[in-house]
């Protein structure tokens, strides 16, 4: 291949294809440019002698109405950590699913160890040493942690029945769990783990595979603070062992910390690559969305002083920590951040506030009046809304259209004489689609085909279409791209400015500090402290999270 | 081809080996009635709705006369009358006297029950306790046989203490006998009211080693029943003659359609009596049965 456009100098190695829709030509150019960069980086990083472990060429994948990937090419070398970033729906997960053998590309070749394939099967993918942590969790709740980690690769005892060697299974799992910093044992049933703990199991699983390439599709989306650090350490350790890693994340600072090279996807095409010394937040953002963000993903300052307490919990006890009463009040016009470690009981509290779970004791008050919630319907009727953390299971109905999802909680308002009016639904949905910038062919699109981030916007849209008094958001930007994040922060601020009480549960330290007006921190089921704006610091939040006093 | 000749149908009340002899009778009649097309129809389930449906469809298909063993003759008056108004309707096996059926040809289940009582009396002159087994306790033929037997036993020292139903599940039929042996050790006689009940009694007794110790009274002519009779382990069995019902019935219907009503008695009842088959008659009966089905 011709060497083309190999530009020297660390800062300029940003290959930007033309703006606008993709074309085969552009794709080819992108490919050529990429190869150039690769060749260059060979020389600069000094792994030039090793052949690429894996390379993709001209991969294209279409779904009805969507081109998810368009003539995409890239290479992965042994011991390389590639940060893969891009907006929601850019095609990152699709790309990884092709590598995992879960999805078949329309065209293109995948070369593993010099052998070219039109497509990979799951077995072929696993067989060639590709390990995969999926964006959506894929654990078996009815099995224990060890069984999940080694699922499909169980150590066997000799014999015709292919029996599982259970002792060895446990022995093998323990060190892996320790490595990811798990606070639970190998024989814990997965059904009792929190979402973040399950994510740790997924990572332990990826580590357990004698992998040559580990793909992590947003592994930190619900990992907070310390656990994230541990994961990044794990990635570094893998690299040291010569294992390649593809790390997908919307938390760009994490990418900055571990990646050797950043590949940026936009609209299914390669938007550019950044070598190690050119990786920085602004460059990544520029490649991802084609422009610089005016401000970093932060909410604007509050425009009004906080009002009276809207929703308050008095000595409320939840099933996660039945012995720990929680007291917390969120005021009109403020964004109250709720931070804490994995399993500190925040989600459980949110479920009680939204009426999904029964409180085991204590009382709720809304605007000073006692509030009894028998079900989520009661909460909705009182203007208390929840954006749940598990989008796929509880947030939206993947099989319904965008419009139907948005109108669902407020269907009687879209009906005449209890007959649903499709046009009224469409009007509401179109408005929300525009306001939130939901990327979809139309509001009649099935929600399940949207990218994770766009699905999250649909969840938000359904509540924003109504009139919230209290809005509870559990990990609202989980899996959401930078651009959309900023928009969501803007929306939250707008809600607060309109007098809504906003309670934001988040494990993302930057987000908690950047967005909140006050921060409450939970430790083992109790509020260990509340920080005002002037006390905000990572250190203070961390201290409270582990149950110590802030400085 | 089938439509050229008038069709006569024999509709039974459910699938059972009992009707195999009737099939033979139909076959024999067919040989003698070349101008007719004779059919024997099984409803796919023993239920009123399905049998009614079958007859409706037969009428639609142009059947000229139907002979039916109604699933529930007592209360199906209207349905049967509807059929009778559209085609020539005869009943068999169990009568529906209140309908507009032309005639009934068959046996009397009450009489059959009485004959069973005769067998019991003869086998147990000193009296005894009898347990009955039947498929559907609520079915008319079962009720009438039980009633007839009780009538026949009235005033003797023999008593029919209970009748257990099994919903025509053979496994349950056999288990019922096994359980009865456990629950009532003082039972001295067992009665199988449906054709398959006697063989199940026979087998359960054989498994328990009690063959010959308990008097078995049978109904119908299952090969196992006949074998037991011959062996002496079944006291005797009361047999009906479905072959005759079918054979005579078909010829009667053909004659009726041709305008010859001489075969139909005043009261519309043509009773073909049931017979007791004991050890002495069994060989002749079995040979006859074989000859008929070989026809």
């Amino acid at each position: 291949m011709r060497r083309l456009g190999v530009r020297l100098g660390p800062a300029v190695r940003i290959d930007e294809p033309c703006e606008g829709r993709q074309s085969a030509d552009v794709a080819k150019t992108a490919h050529r440019l990429l190869s150039g960069v690769m060749n260059y980086s060979d020389a600069s990083i000094g792994v030039s002698t090793t052949a690429p472990f894996l390379s993709l060429e001209g991969v294209r994948k279409t779904y009805p109405g969507v081109v998810a990937l368009d003539g995409f090419s890239m290479e992965v070398r042994p011991g390389e950590v590639i940060g893969l970033v891009g907006e929601n729906g850019a095609g990152k997960s699709t790309l990884m699913k092709i590598l995992g053998g879960v999805t078949t590309p329309d065209t293109g070749t995948i070369t593993v160890d010099g052998v070219a394939h039109d497509r990979l099967t799951v077995e072929a993918s696993i067989g060639s040493g590709i390990a995969f942590v999926h964006q959506e969790l894929n654990l078996f709740e009815n099995l224990d942690v060890a069984a999940n980690i080694f699922f499909g690769r169980e150590p066997l005892r000799a014999g015709p029945f292919r029996l599982v060697d259970r002792a060895r299974l446990r022995a093998l799992s323990a060190p892996l769990l320790k490595r990811v910093g798990a606070n639970f044992s190998a024989d814990t049933p997965v059904s009792t783990l929190s979402l973040a703990q399950q994510q740790m199991v997924e990572i332990a699983k990826a580590l357990s595979i004698e992998a040559r390439l580990v793909i992590l599709d947003e592994p930190t989306s619900s990992l907070p603070l310390a656990e994230t650090d541990k994961l990044l350490d794990v990635i570094k350790a893998l690299k040291a062992e010569g294992i390649s890693v593809i790390f997908i994340s919307h938390r760009l600072h994490e990418v900055e910390r571990v990646a050797d090279r950043v590949v940026v996807l936009r609209d299914g095409m390669l938007a550019g690559t950044l070598p190690k010394n050119a990786i920085n937040h602004d460059q990544m953002v520029k490649l991802m969305i084609g422009r610089m963000l005016k401000e970093r993903e932060k909410a604007a300052e509050s425009a009004r002083p906080p009002g009276t307490v809207a929703l308050s919990a008095k000595a409320v006890r939840t099933t996660a920590y039945p012995d720990r009463p929680v007291d917390l009040g969120v005021r009109h016009g403020e964004i109250l951040g709720l931070a804490g470690l994995v399993g500190s009981g925040r989600t459980e509290l949110a479920r009680v506030l939204f009426g999904i779970d029964k409180s085991l004791g204590g009382a709720l008050q809304l605007d000073g009046k006692d509030l009894v919630l028998g079900s989520a319907a009661d909460a909705v009727a009182n203007g208390i809304f929840l954006v749940p953390e598990d989008r796929k299971l509880t947030g939206i109905l993947l099989d319904l259209s965008i419009a139907q999802n948005i109108s669902l909680p407020n269907l009687p308002a879209h009906a005449r004489r209890s007959l649903v009016s499709a046009s009224a639904e469409a009007v509401t949905a179109e408005k929300q689609k525009r306001n939130l910038g939901i990327k979809a062919p139309s509001v009649a699109t099935r929600t399940g085909t949207l990218s994770g981030g766009n699905q999250q916007k649909v969840v938000l849209a359904k509540w924003l279409a109504m009139n919230p008094r209290v809005m509870i958001l559990d990990e609202p930007t989980r899996g959401i791209d930078i651009g959309a994040k900023a928009e969501i922060y803007g929306l939250m601020r707008a809600l607060a400015d309109a007098g809504v009480a906003v309670l934001m549960i988040s494990s993302d330290m930057e987000e908690v500090i950047g967005v909140s007006d006050r921060i409450a921190v939970m430790h083992e089921g109790q509020i260990s402290g509340i920080l005002d704006k002037e006390q905000f610091s990572q250190e203070n939040v961390l201290l409270l999270a582990v149950g110590k006093q802030p400085k | 081809r089938a439509q050229d000749k008038p069709t006569l149908a024999f509709v039974v009340n459910g699938a059972s080996d009992f009707w195999k002899a009737a099939e033979a009778g139909v076959k024999k009649a067919q040989a003698e009635l070349p101008d007719y097309n004779l059919e024997l129809k099984y409803p796919e389930q023993s239920s009123v709705a399905i049998q009614q449906r079958l007859m409706d469809d037969l009428v639609t298909a142009g059947v000229k006369a139907i002979m039916v063993s109604a699933v529930d003759p007592k209360t199906s008056t209207d349905g049967l009358n509807k059929i009778a108004s559209e085609t020539a309707l005869f009943t068999t096996d169990s009568d529906a006297p209140q309908t507009k059926r032309i005639a009934y040809i068959g046996s009397s289940n009450i009489d059959a029950g009485k004959q069973a009582a005769e067998i019991a009396k003869k086998a147990m002159p000193d009296g005894g306790k009898c347990l009955g087994f039947v498929g559907l306790l609520g079915a008319d033929n079962a009720k009438e046989r039980i009633e007839g037997m009780k009538e026949g036993l009235a005033g003797t020292k023999i008593e029919l203490i209970d009748v257990r139903g099994d919903d025509i599940d053979q496994a349950r039929a056999k288990k019922n006998v096994e359980d009865a042996l456990v629950a009532s050790p003082d039972v001295t006689c067992m009665v199988g009211f449906y054709s398959y009940n006697t063989p199940r009694i026979y087998e359960a007794l054989r498994d328990a080693g009690k063959l010959g110790q308990i008097t078995v009274v049978g109904f119908d002519d299952d090969p196992i029943t006949l074998g037991g009779v011959k062996e002496g382990t079944v006291a005797a069995t009361v047999v009906q003659q479905p072959f005759e019902w079918a054979y005579q019935g078909m010829k009667l219907m053909a004659a009726y359609l041709e305008g010859d009503k001489s075969g139909i008695p005043e009261n519309g009842l043509i009773i073909i009596p049931t017979k007791i088959i004991g050890k002495d008659d069994v060989d002749a009966y079995a040979a006859n049965l074989k000859a008929m089905s070989g026809n």
């Binding site: 329309d106 139907q404 669902l408 269907l411 | 529930d72 349905g79 559907l136 609520g138 079915a139």
Partner: protein
């Protein structure tokens, strides 16, 4: 009408045409009337079942309920001398109560629909048999209820009134299922009950309502069946009717996982099943094969539907790819 429903309709017409060619008596008004009468009876059952299936549930006790309520209805009006305008709503209420009980056990006590209604299947038949001491409930000779008989077993302009009742019910239920807020909730719950709950829908009540609707419709058809057979032996009456109803719904495009299916589909499913029964009898196929024919046709129908879906999807994909490539080439 969806493509799925259209396919089913075409199948029904083709089968009908073939049968009519072999035996032209198939098209006699009397045969059509007889068959449409049974379509009416089974159709009402199947619509009830459809409401439950759409929520991802199942109602296995239908046949036993038909037996139990049928026995009670006949007993009330024939033996106990209750006026039928009293007995009829009473039976419907009883059906509703049975549905409510099932719905309550399923939504409040979180039992599985299959388990609850399986127990119902066993219990109601037992109770019905015990009630009549395994005897038959029927009308005495000459006992007549002219208005009731007209409404249930009569004909208007040659059309069985049971069929007319089905049409009316189907129209109402179509609106409920496909146009009303309640119907949308049913679909949403069938797709993902948790998510529906998180959207503030009182899922328990909605599901319970579905079982109540099923119970009431089952009760109604129990009355129709009772007036059709005019005699009920509780040991066998209505046996397997739940399978007919489920089969009709499945043929009509319902998924037992919930959240899929249309009302027109379930009606067409019923029509096809009854057409098959009629065909077996009219073409002189041994009745022992009746069930086999039914099973075979359902299997083929479902298979064709499924394979057709796969084919269409593949074609769509292909088209999308071709369009994309063409666009690229043009540039």
């Amino acid at each position: 009408m969806s493509k799925k429903d259209l396919g089913l309709l075409i199948l029904i017409l083709v089968v009908g045409a073939v049968v009519a060619i072999i035996n032209p008596r198939f098209l006699l008004p009397i045969n059509l009337a007889n068959t449409s009468n049974l379509i009416g009876l089974f159709g009402i059952l199947a619509i009830g079942q459809a409401f439950v299936i759409i929520t991802g549930g199942i109602e296995l006790s239908v046949g036993s309920v038909v037996a139990l309520l049928g026995v009670l209805f006949v007993d009330f009006i024939a033996t106990r001398g209750m006026a039928w305008p009293v007995a009829l709503p009473l039976i419907l209420v009883l059906g509703g109560i049975i549905g409510l009980a099932h719905g309550w056990l399923i939504t409040r006590l979180k039992l599985q629909p299959f388990v609850v209604t399986l127990c119902g299947l066993l219990i109601y038949r037992g109770v019905a048999r015990f009630y009549t001491a395994d005897g038959t409930a029927g009308f005495a000779f000459g006992q007549n209820f002219p208005e009731l008989e007209f409404l249930t077993a009569g004909r208007s302009y040659g059309v069985p009134n049971s069929f007319i009742a089905l049409i009316v019910i189907a129209i109402v239920m179509w609106v409920v299922l496909h146009r009303s807020v309640f119907g949308r909730y049913l679909y949403a719950i069938g797709k993902n009950e948790e998510a529906a709950k998180y959207s503030g829908i009182r899922t328990g009540r909605v599901v319970m309502a579905a079982y109540v609707i099923c119970g009431v419709l089952t009760a109604l058809s129990a009355i129709y069946f009772a007036m059709y057979t005019r005699s009920i032996s509780p040991a066998s009456h209505g046996q397997f009717y739940e399978l007919y109803a489920i089969a009709a719904a499945v043929l009509g495009g319902f998924s037992l996982r919930g959240g899929e299916g249309s009302l027109i589909g379930v009606i067409l499913g019923t029509v096809l099943l009854q057409e098959l029964q009629n065909l077996v009898n009219l073409l002189g196929i041994p009745s022992s094969l009746n069930f086999a024919v039914m099973g075979g046709v359902i299997l083929i129908g479902v298979l064709v539907d499924q394979q057709w879906g796969v084919y269409r999807e593949r074609r769509l994909m292909l088209e999308a790819t071709r369009k994309g490539t063409a666009g690229a080439a043009a540039e």
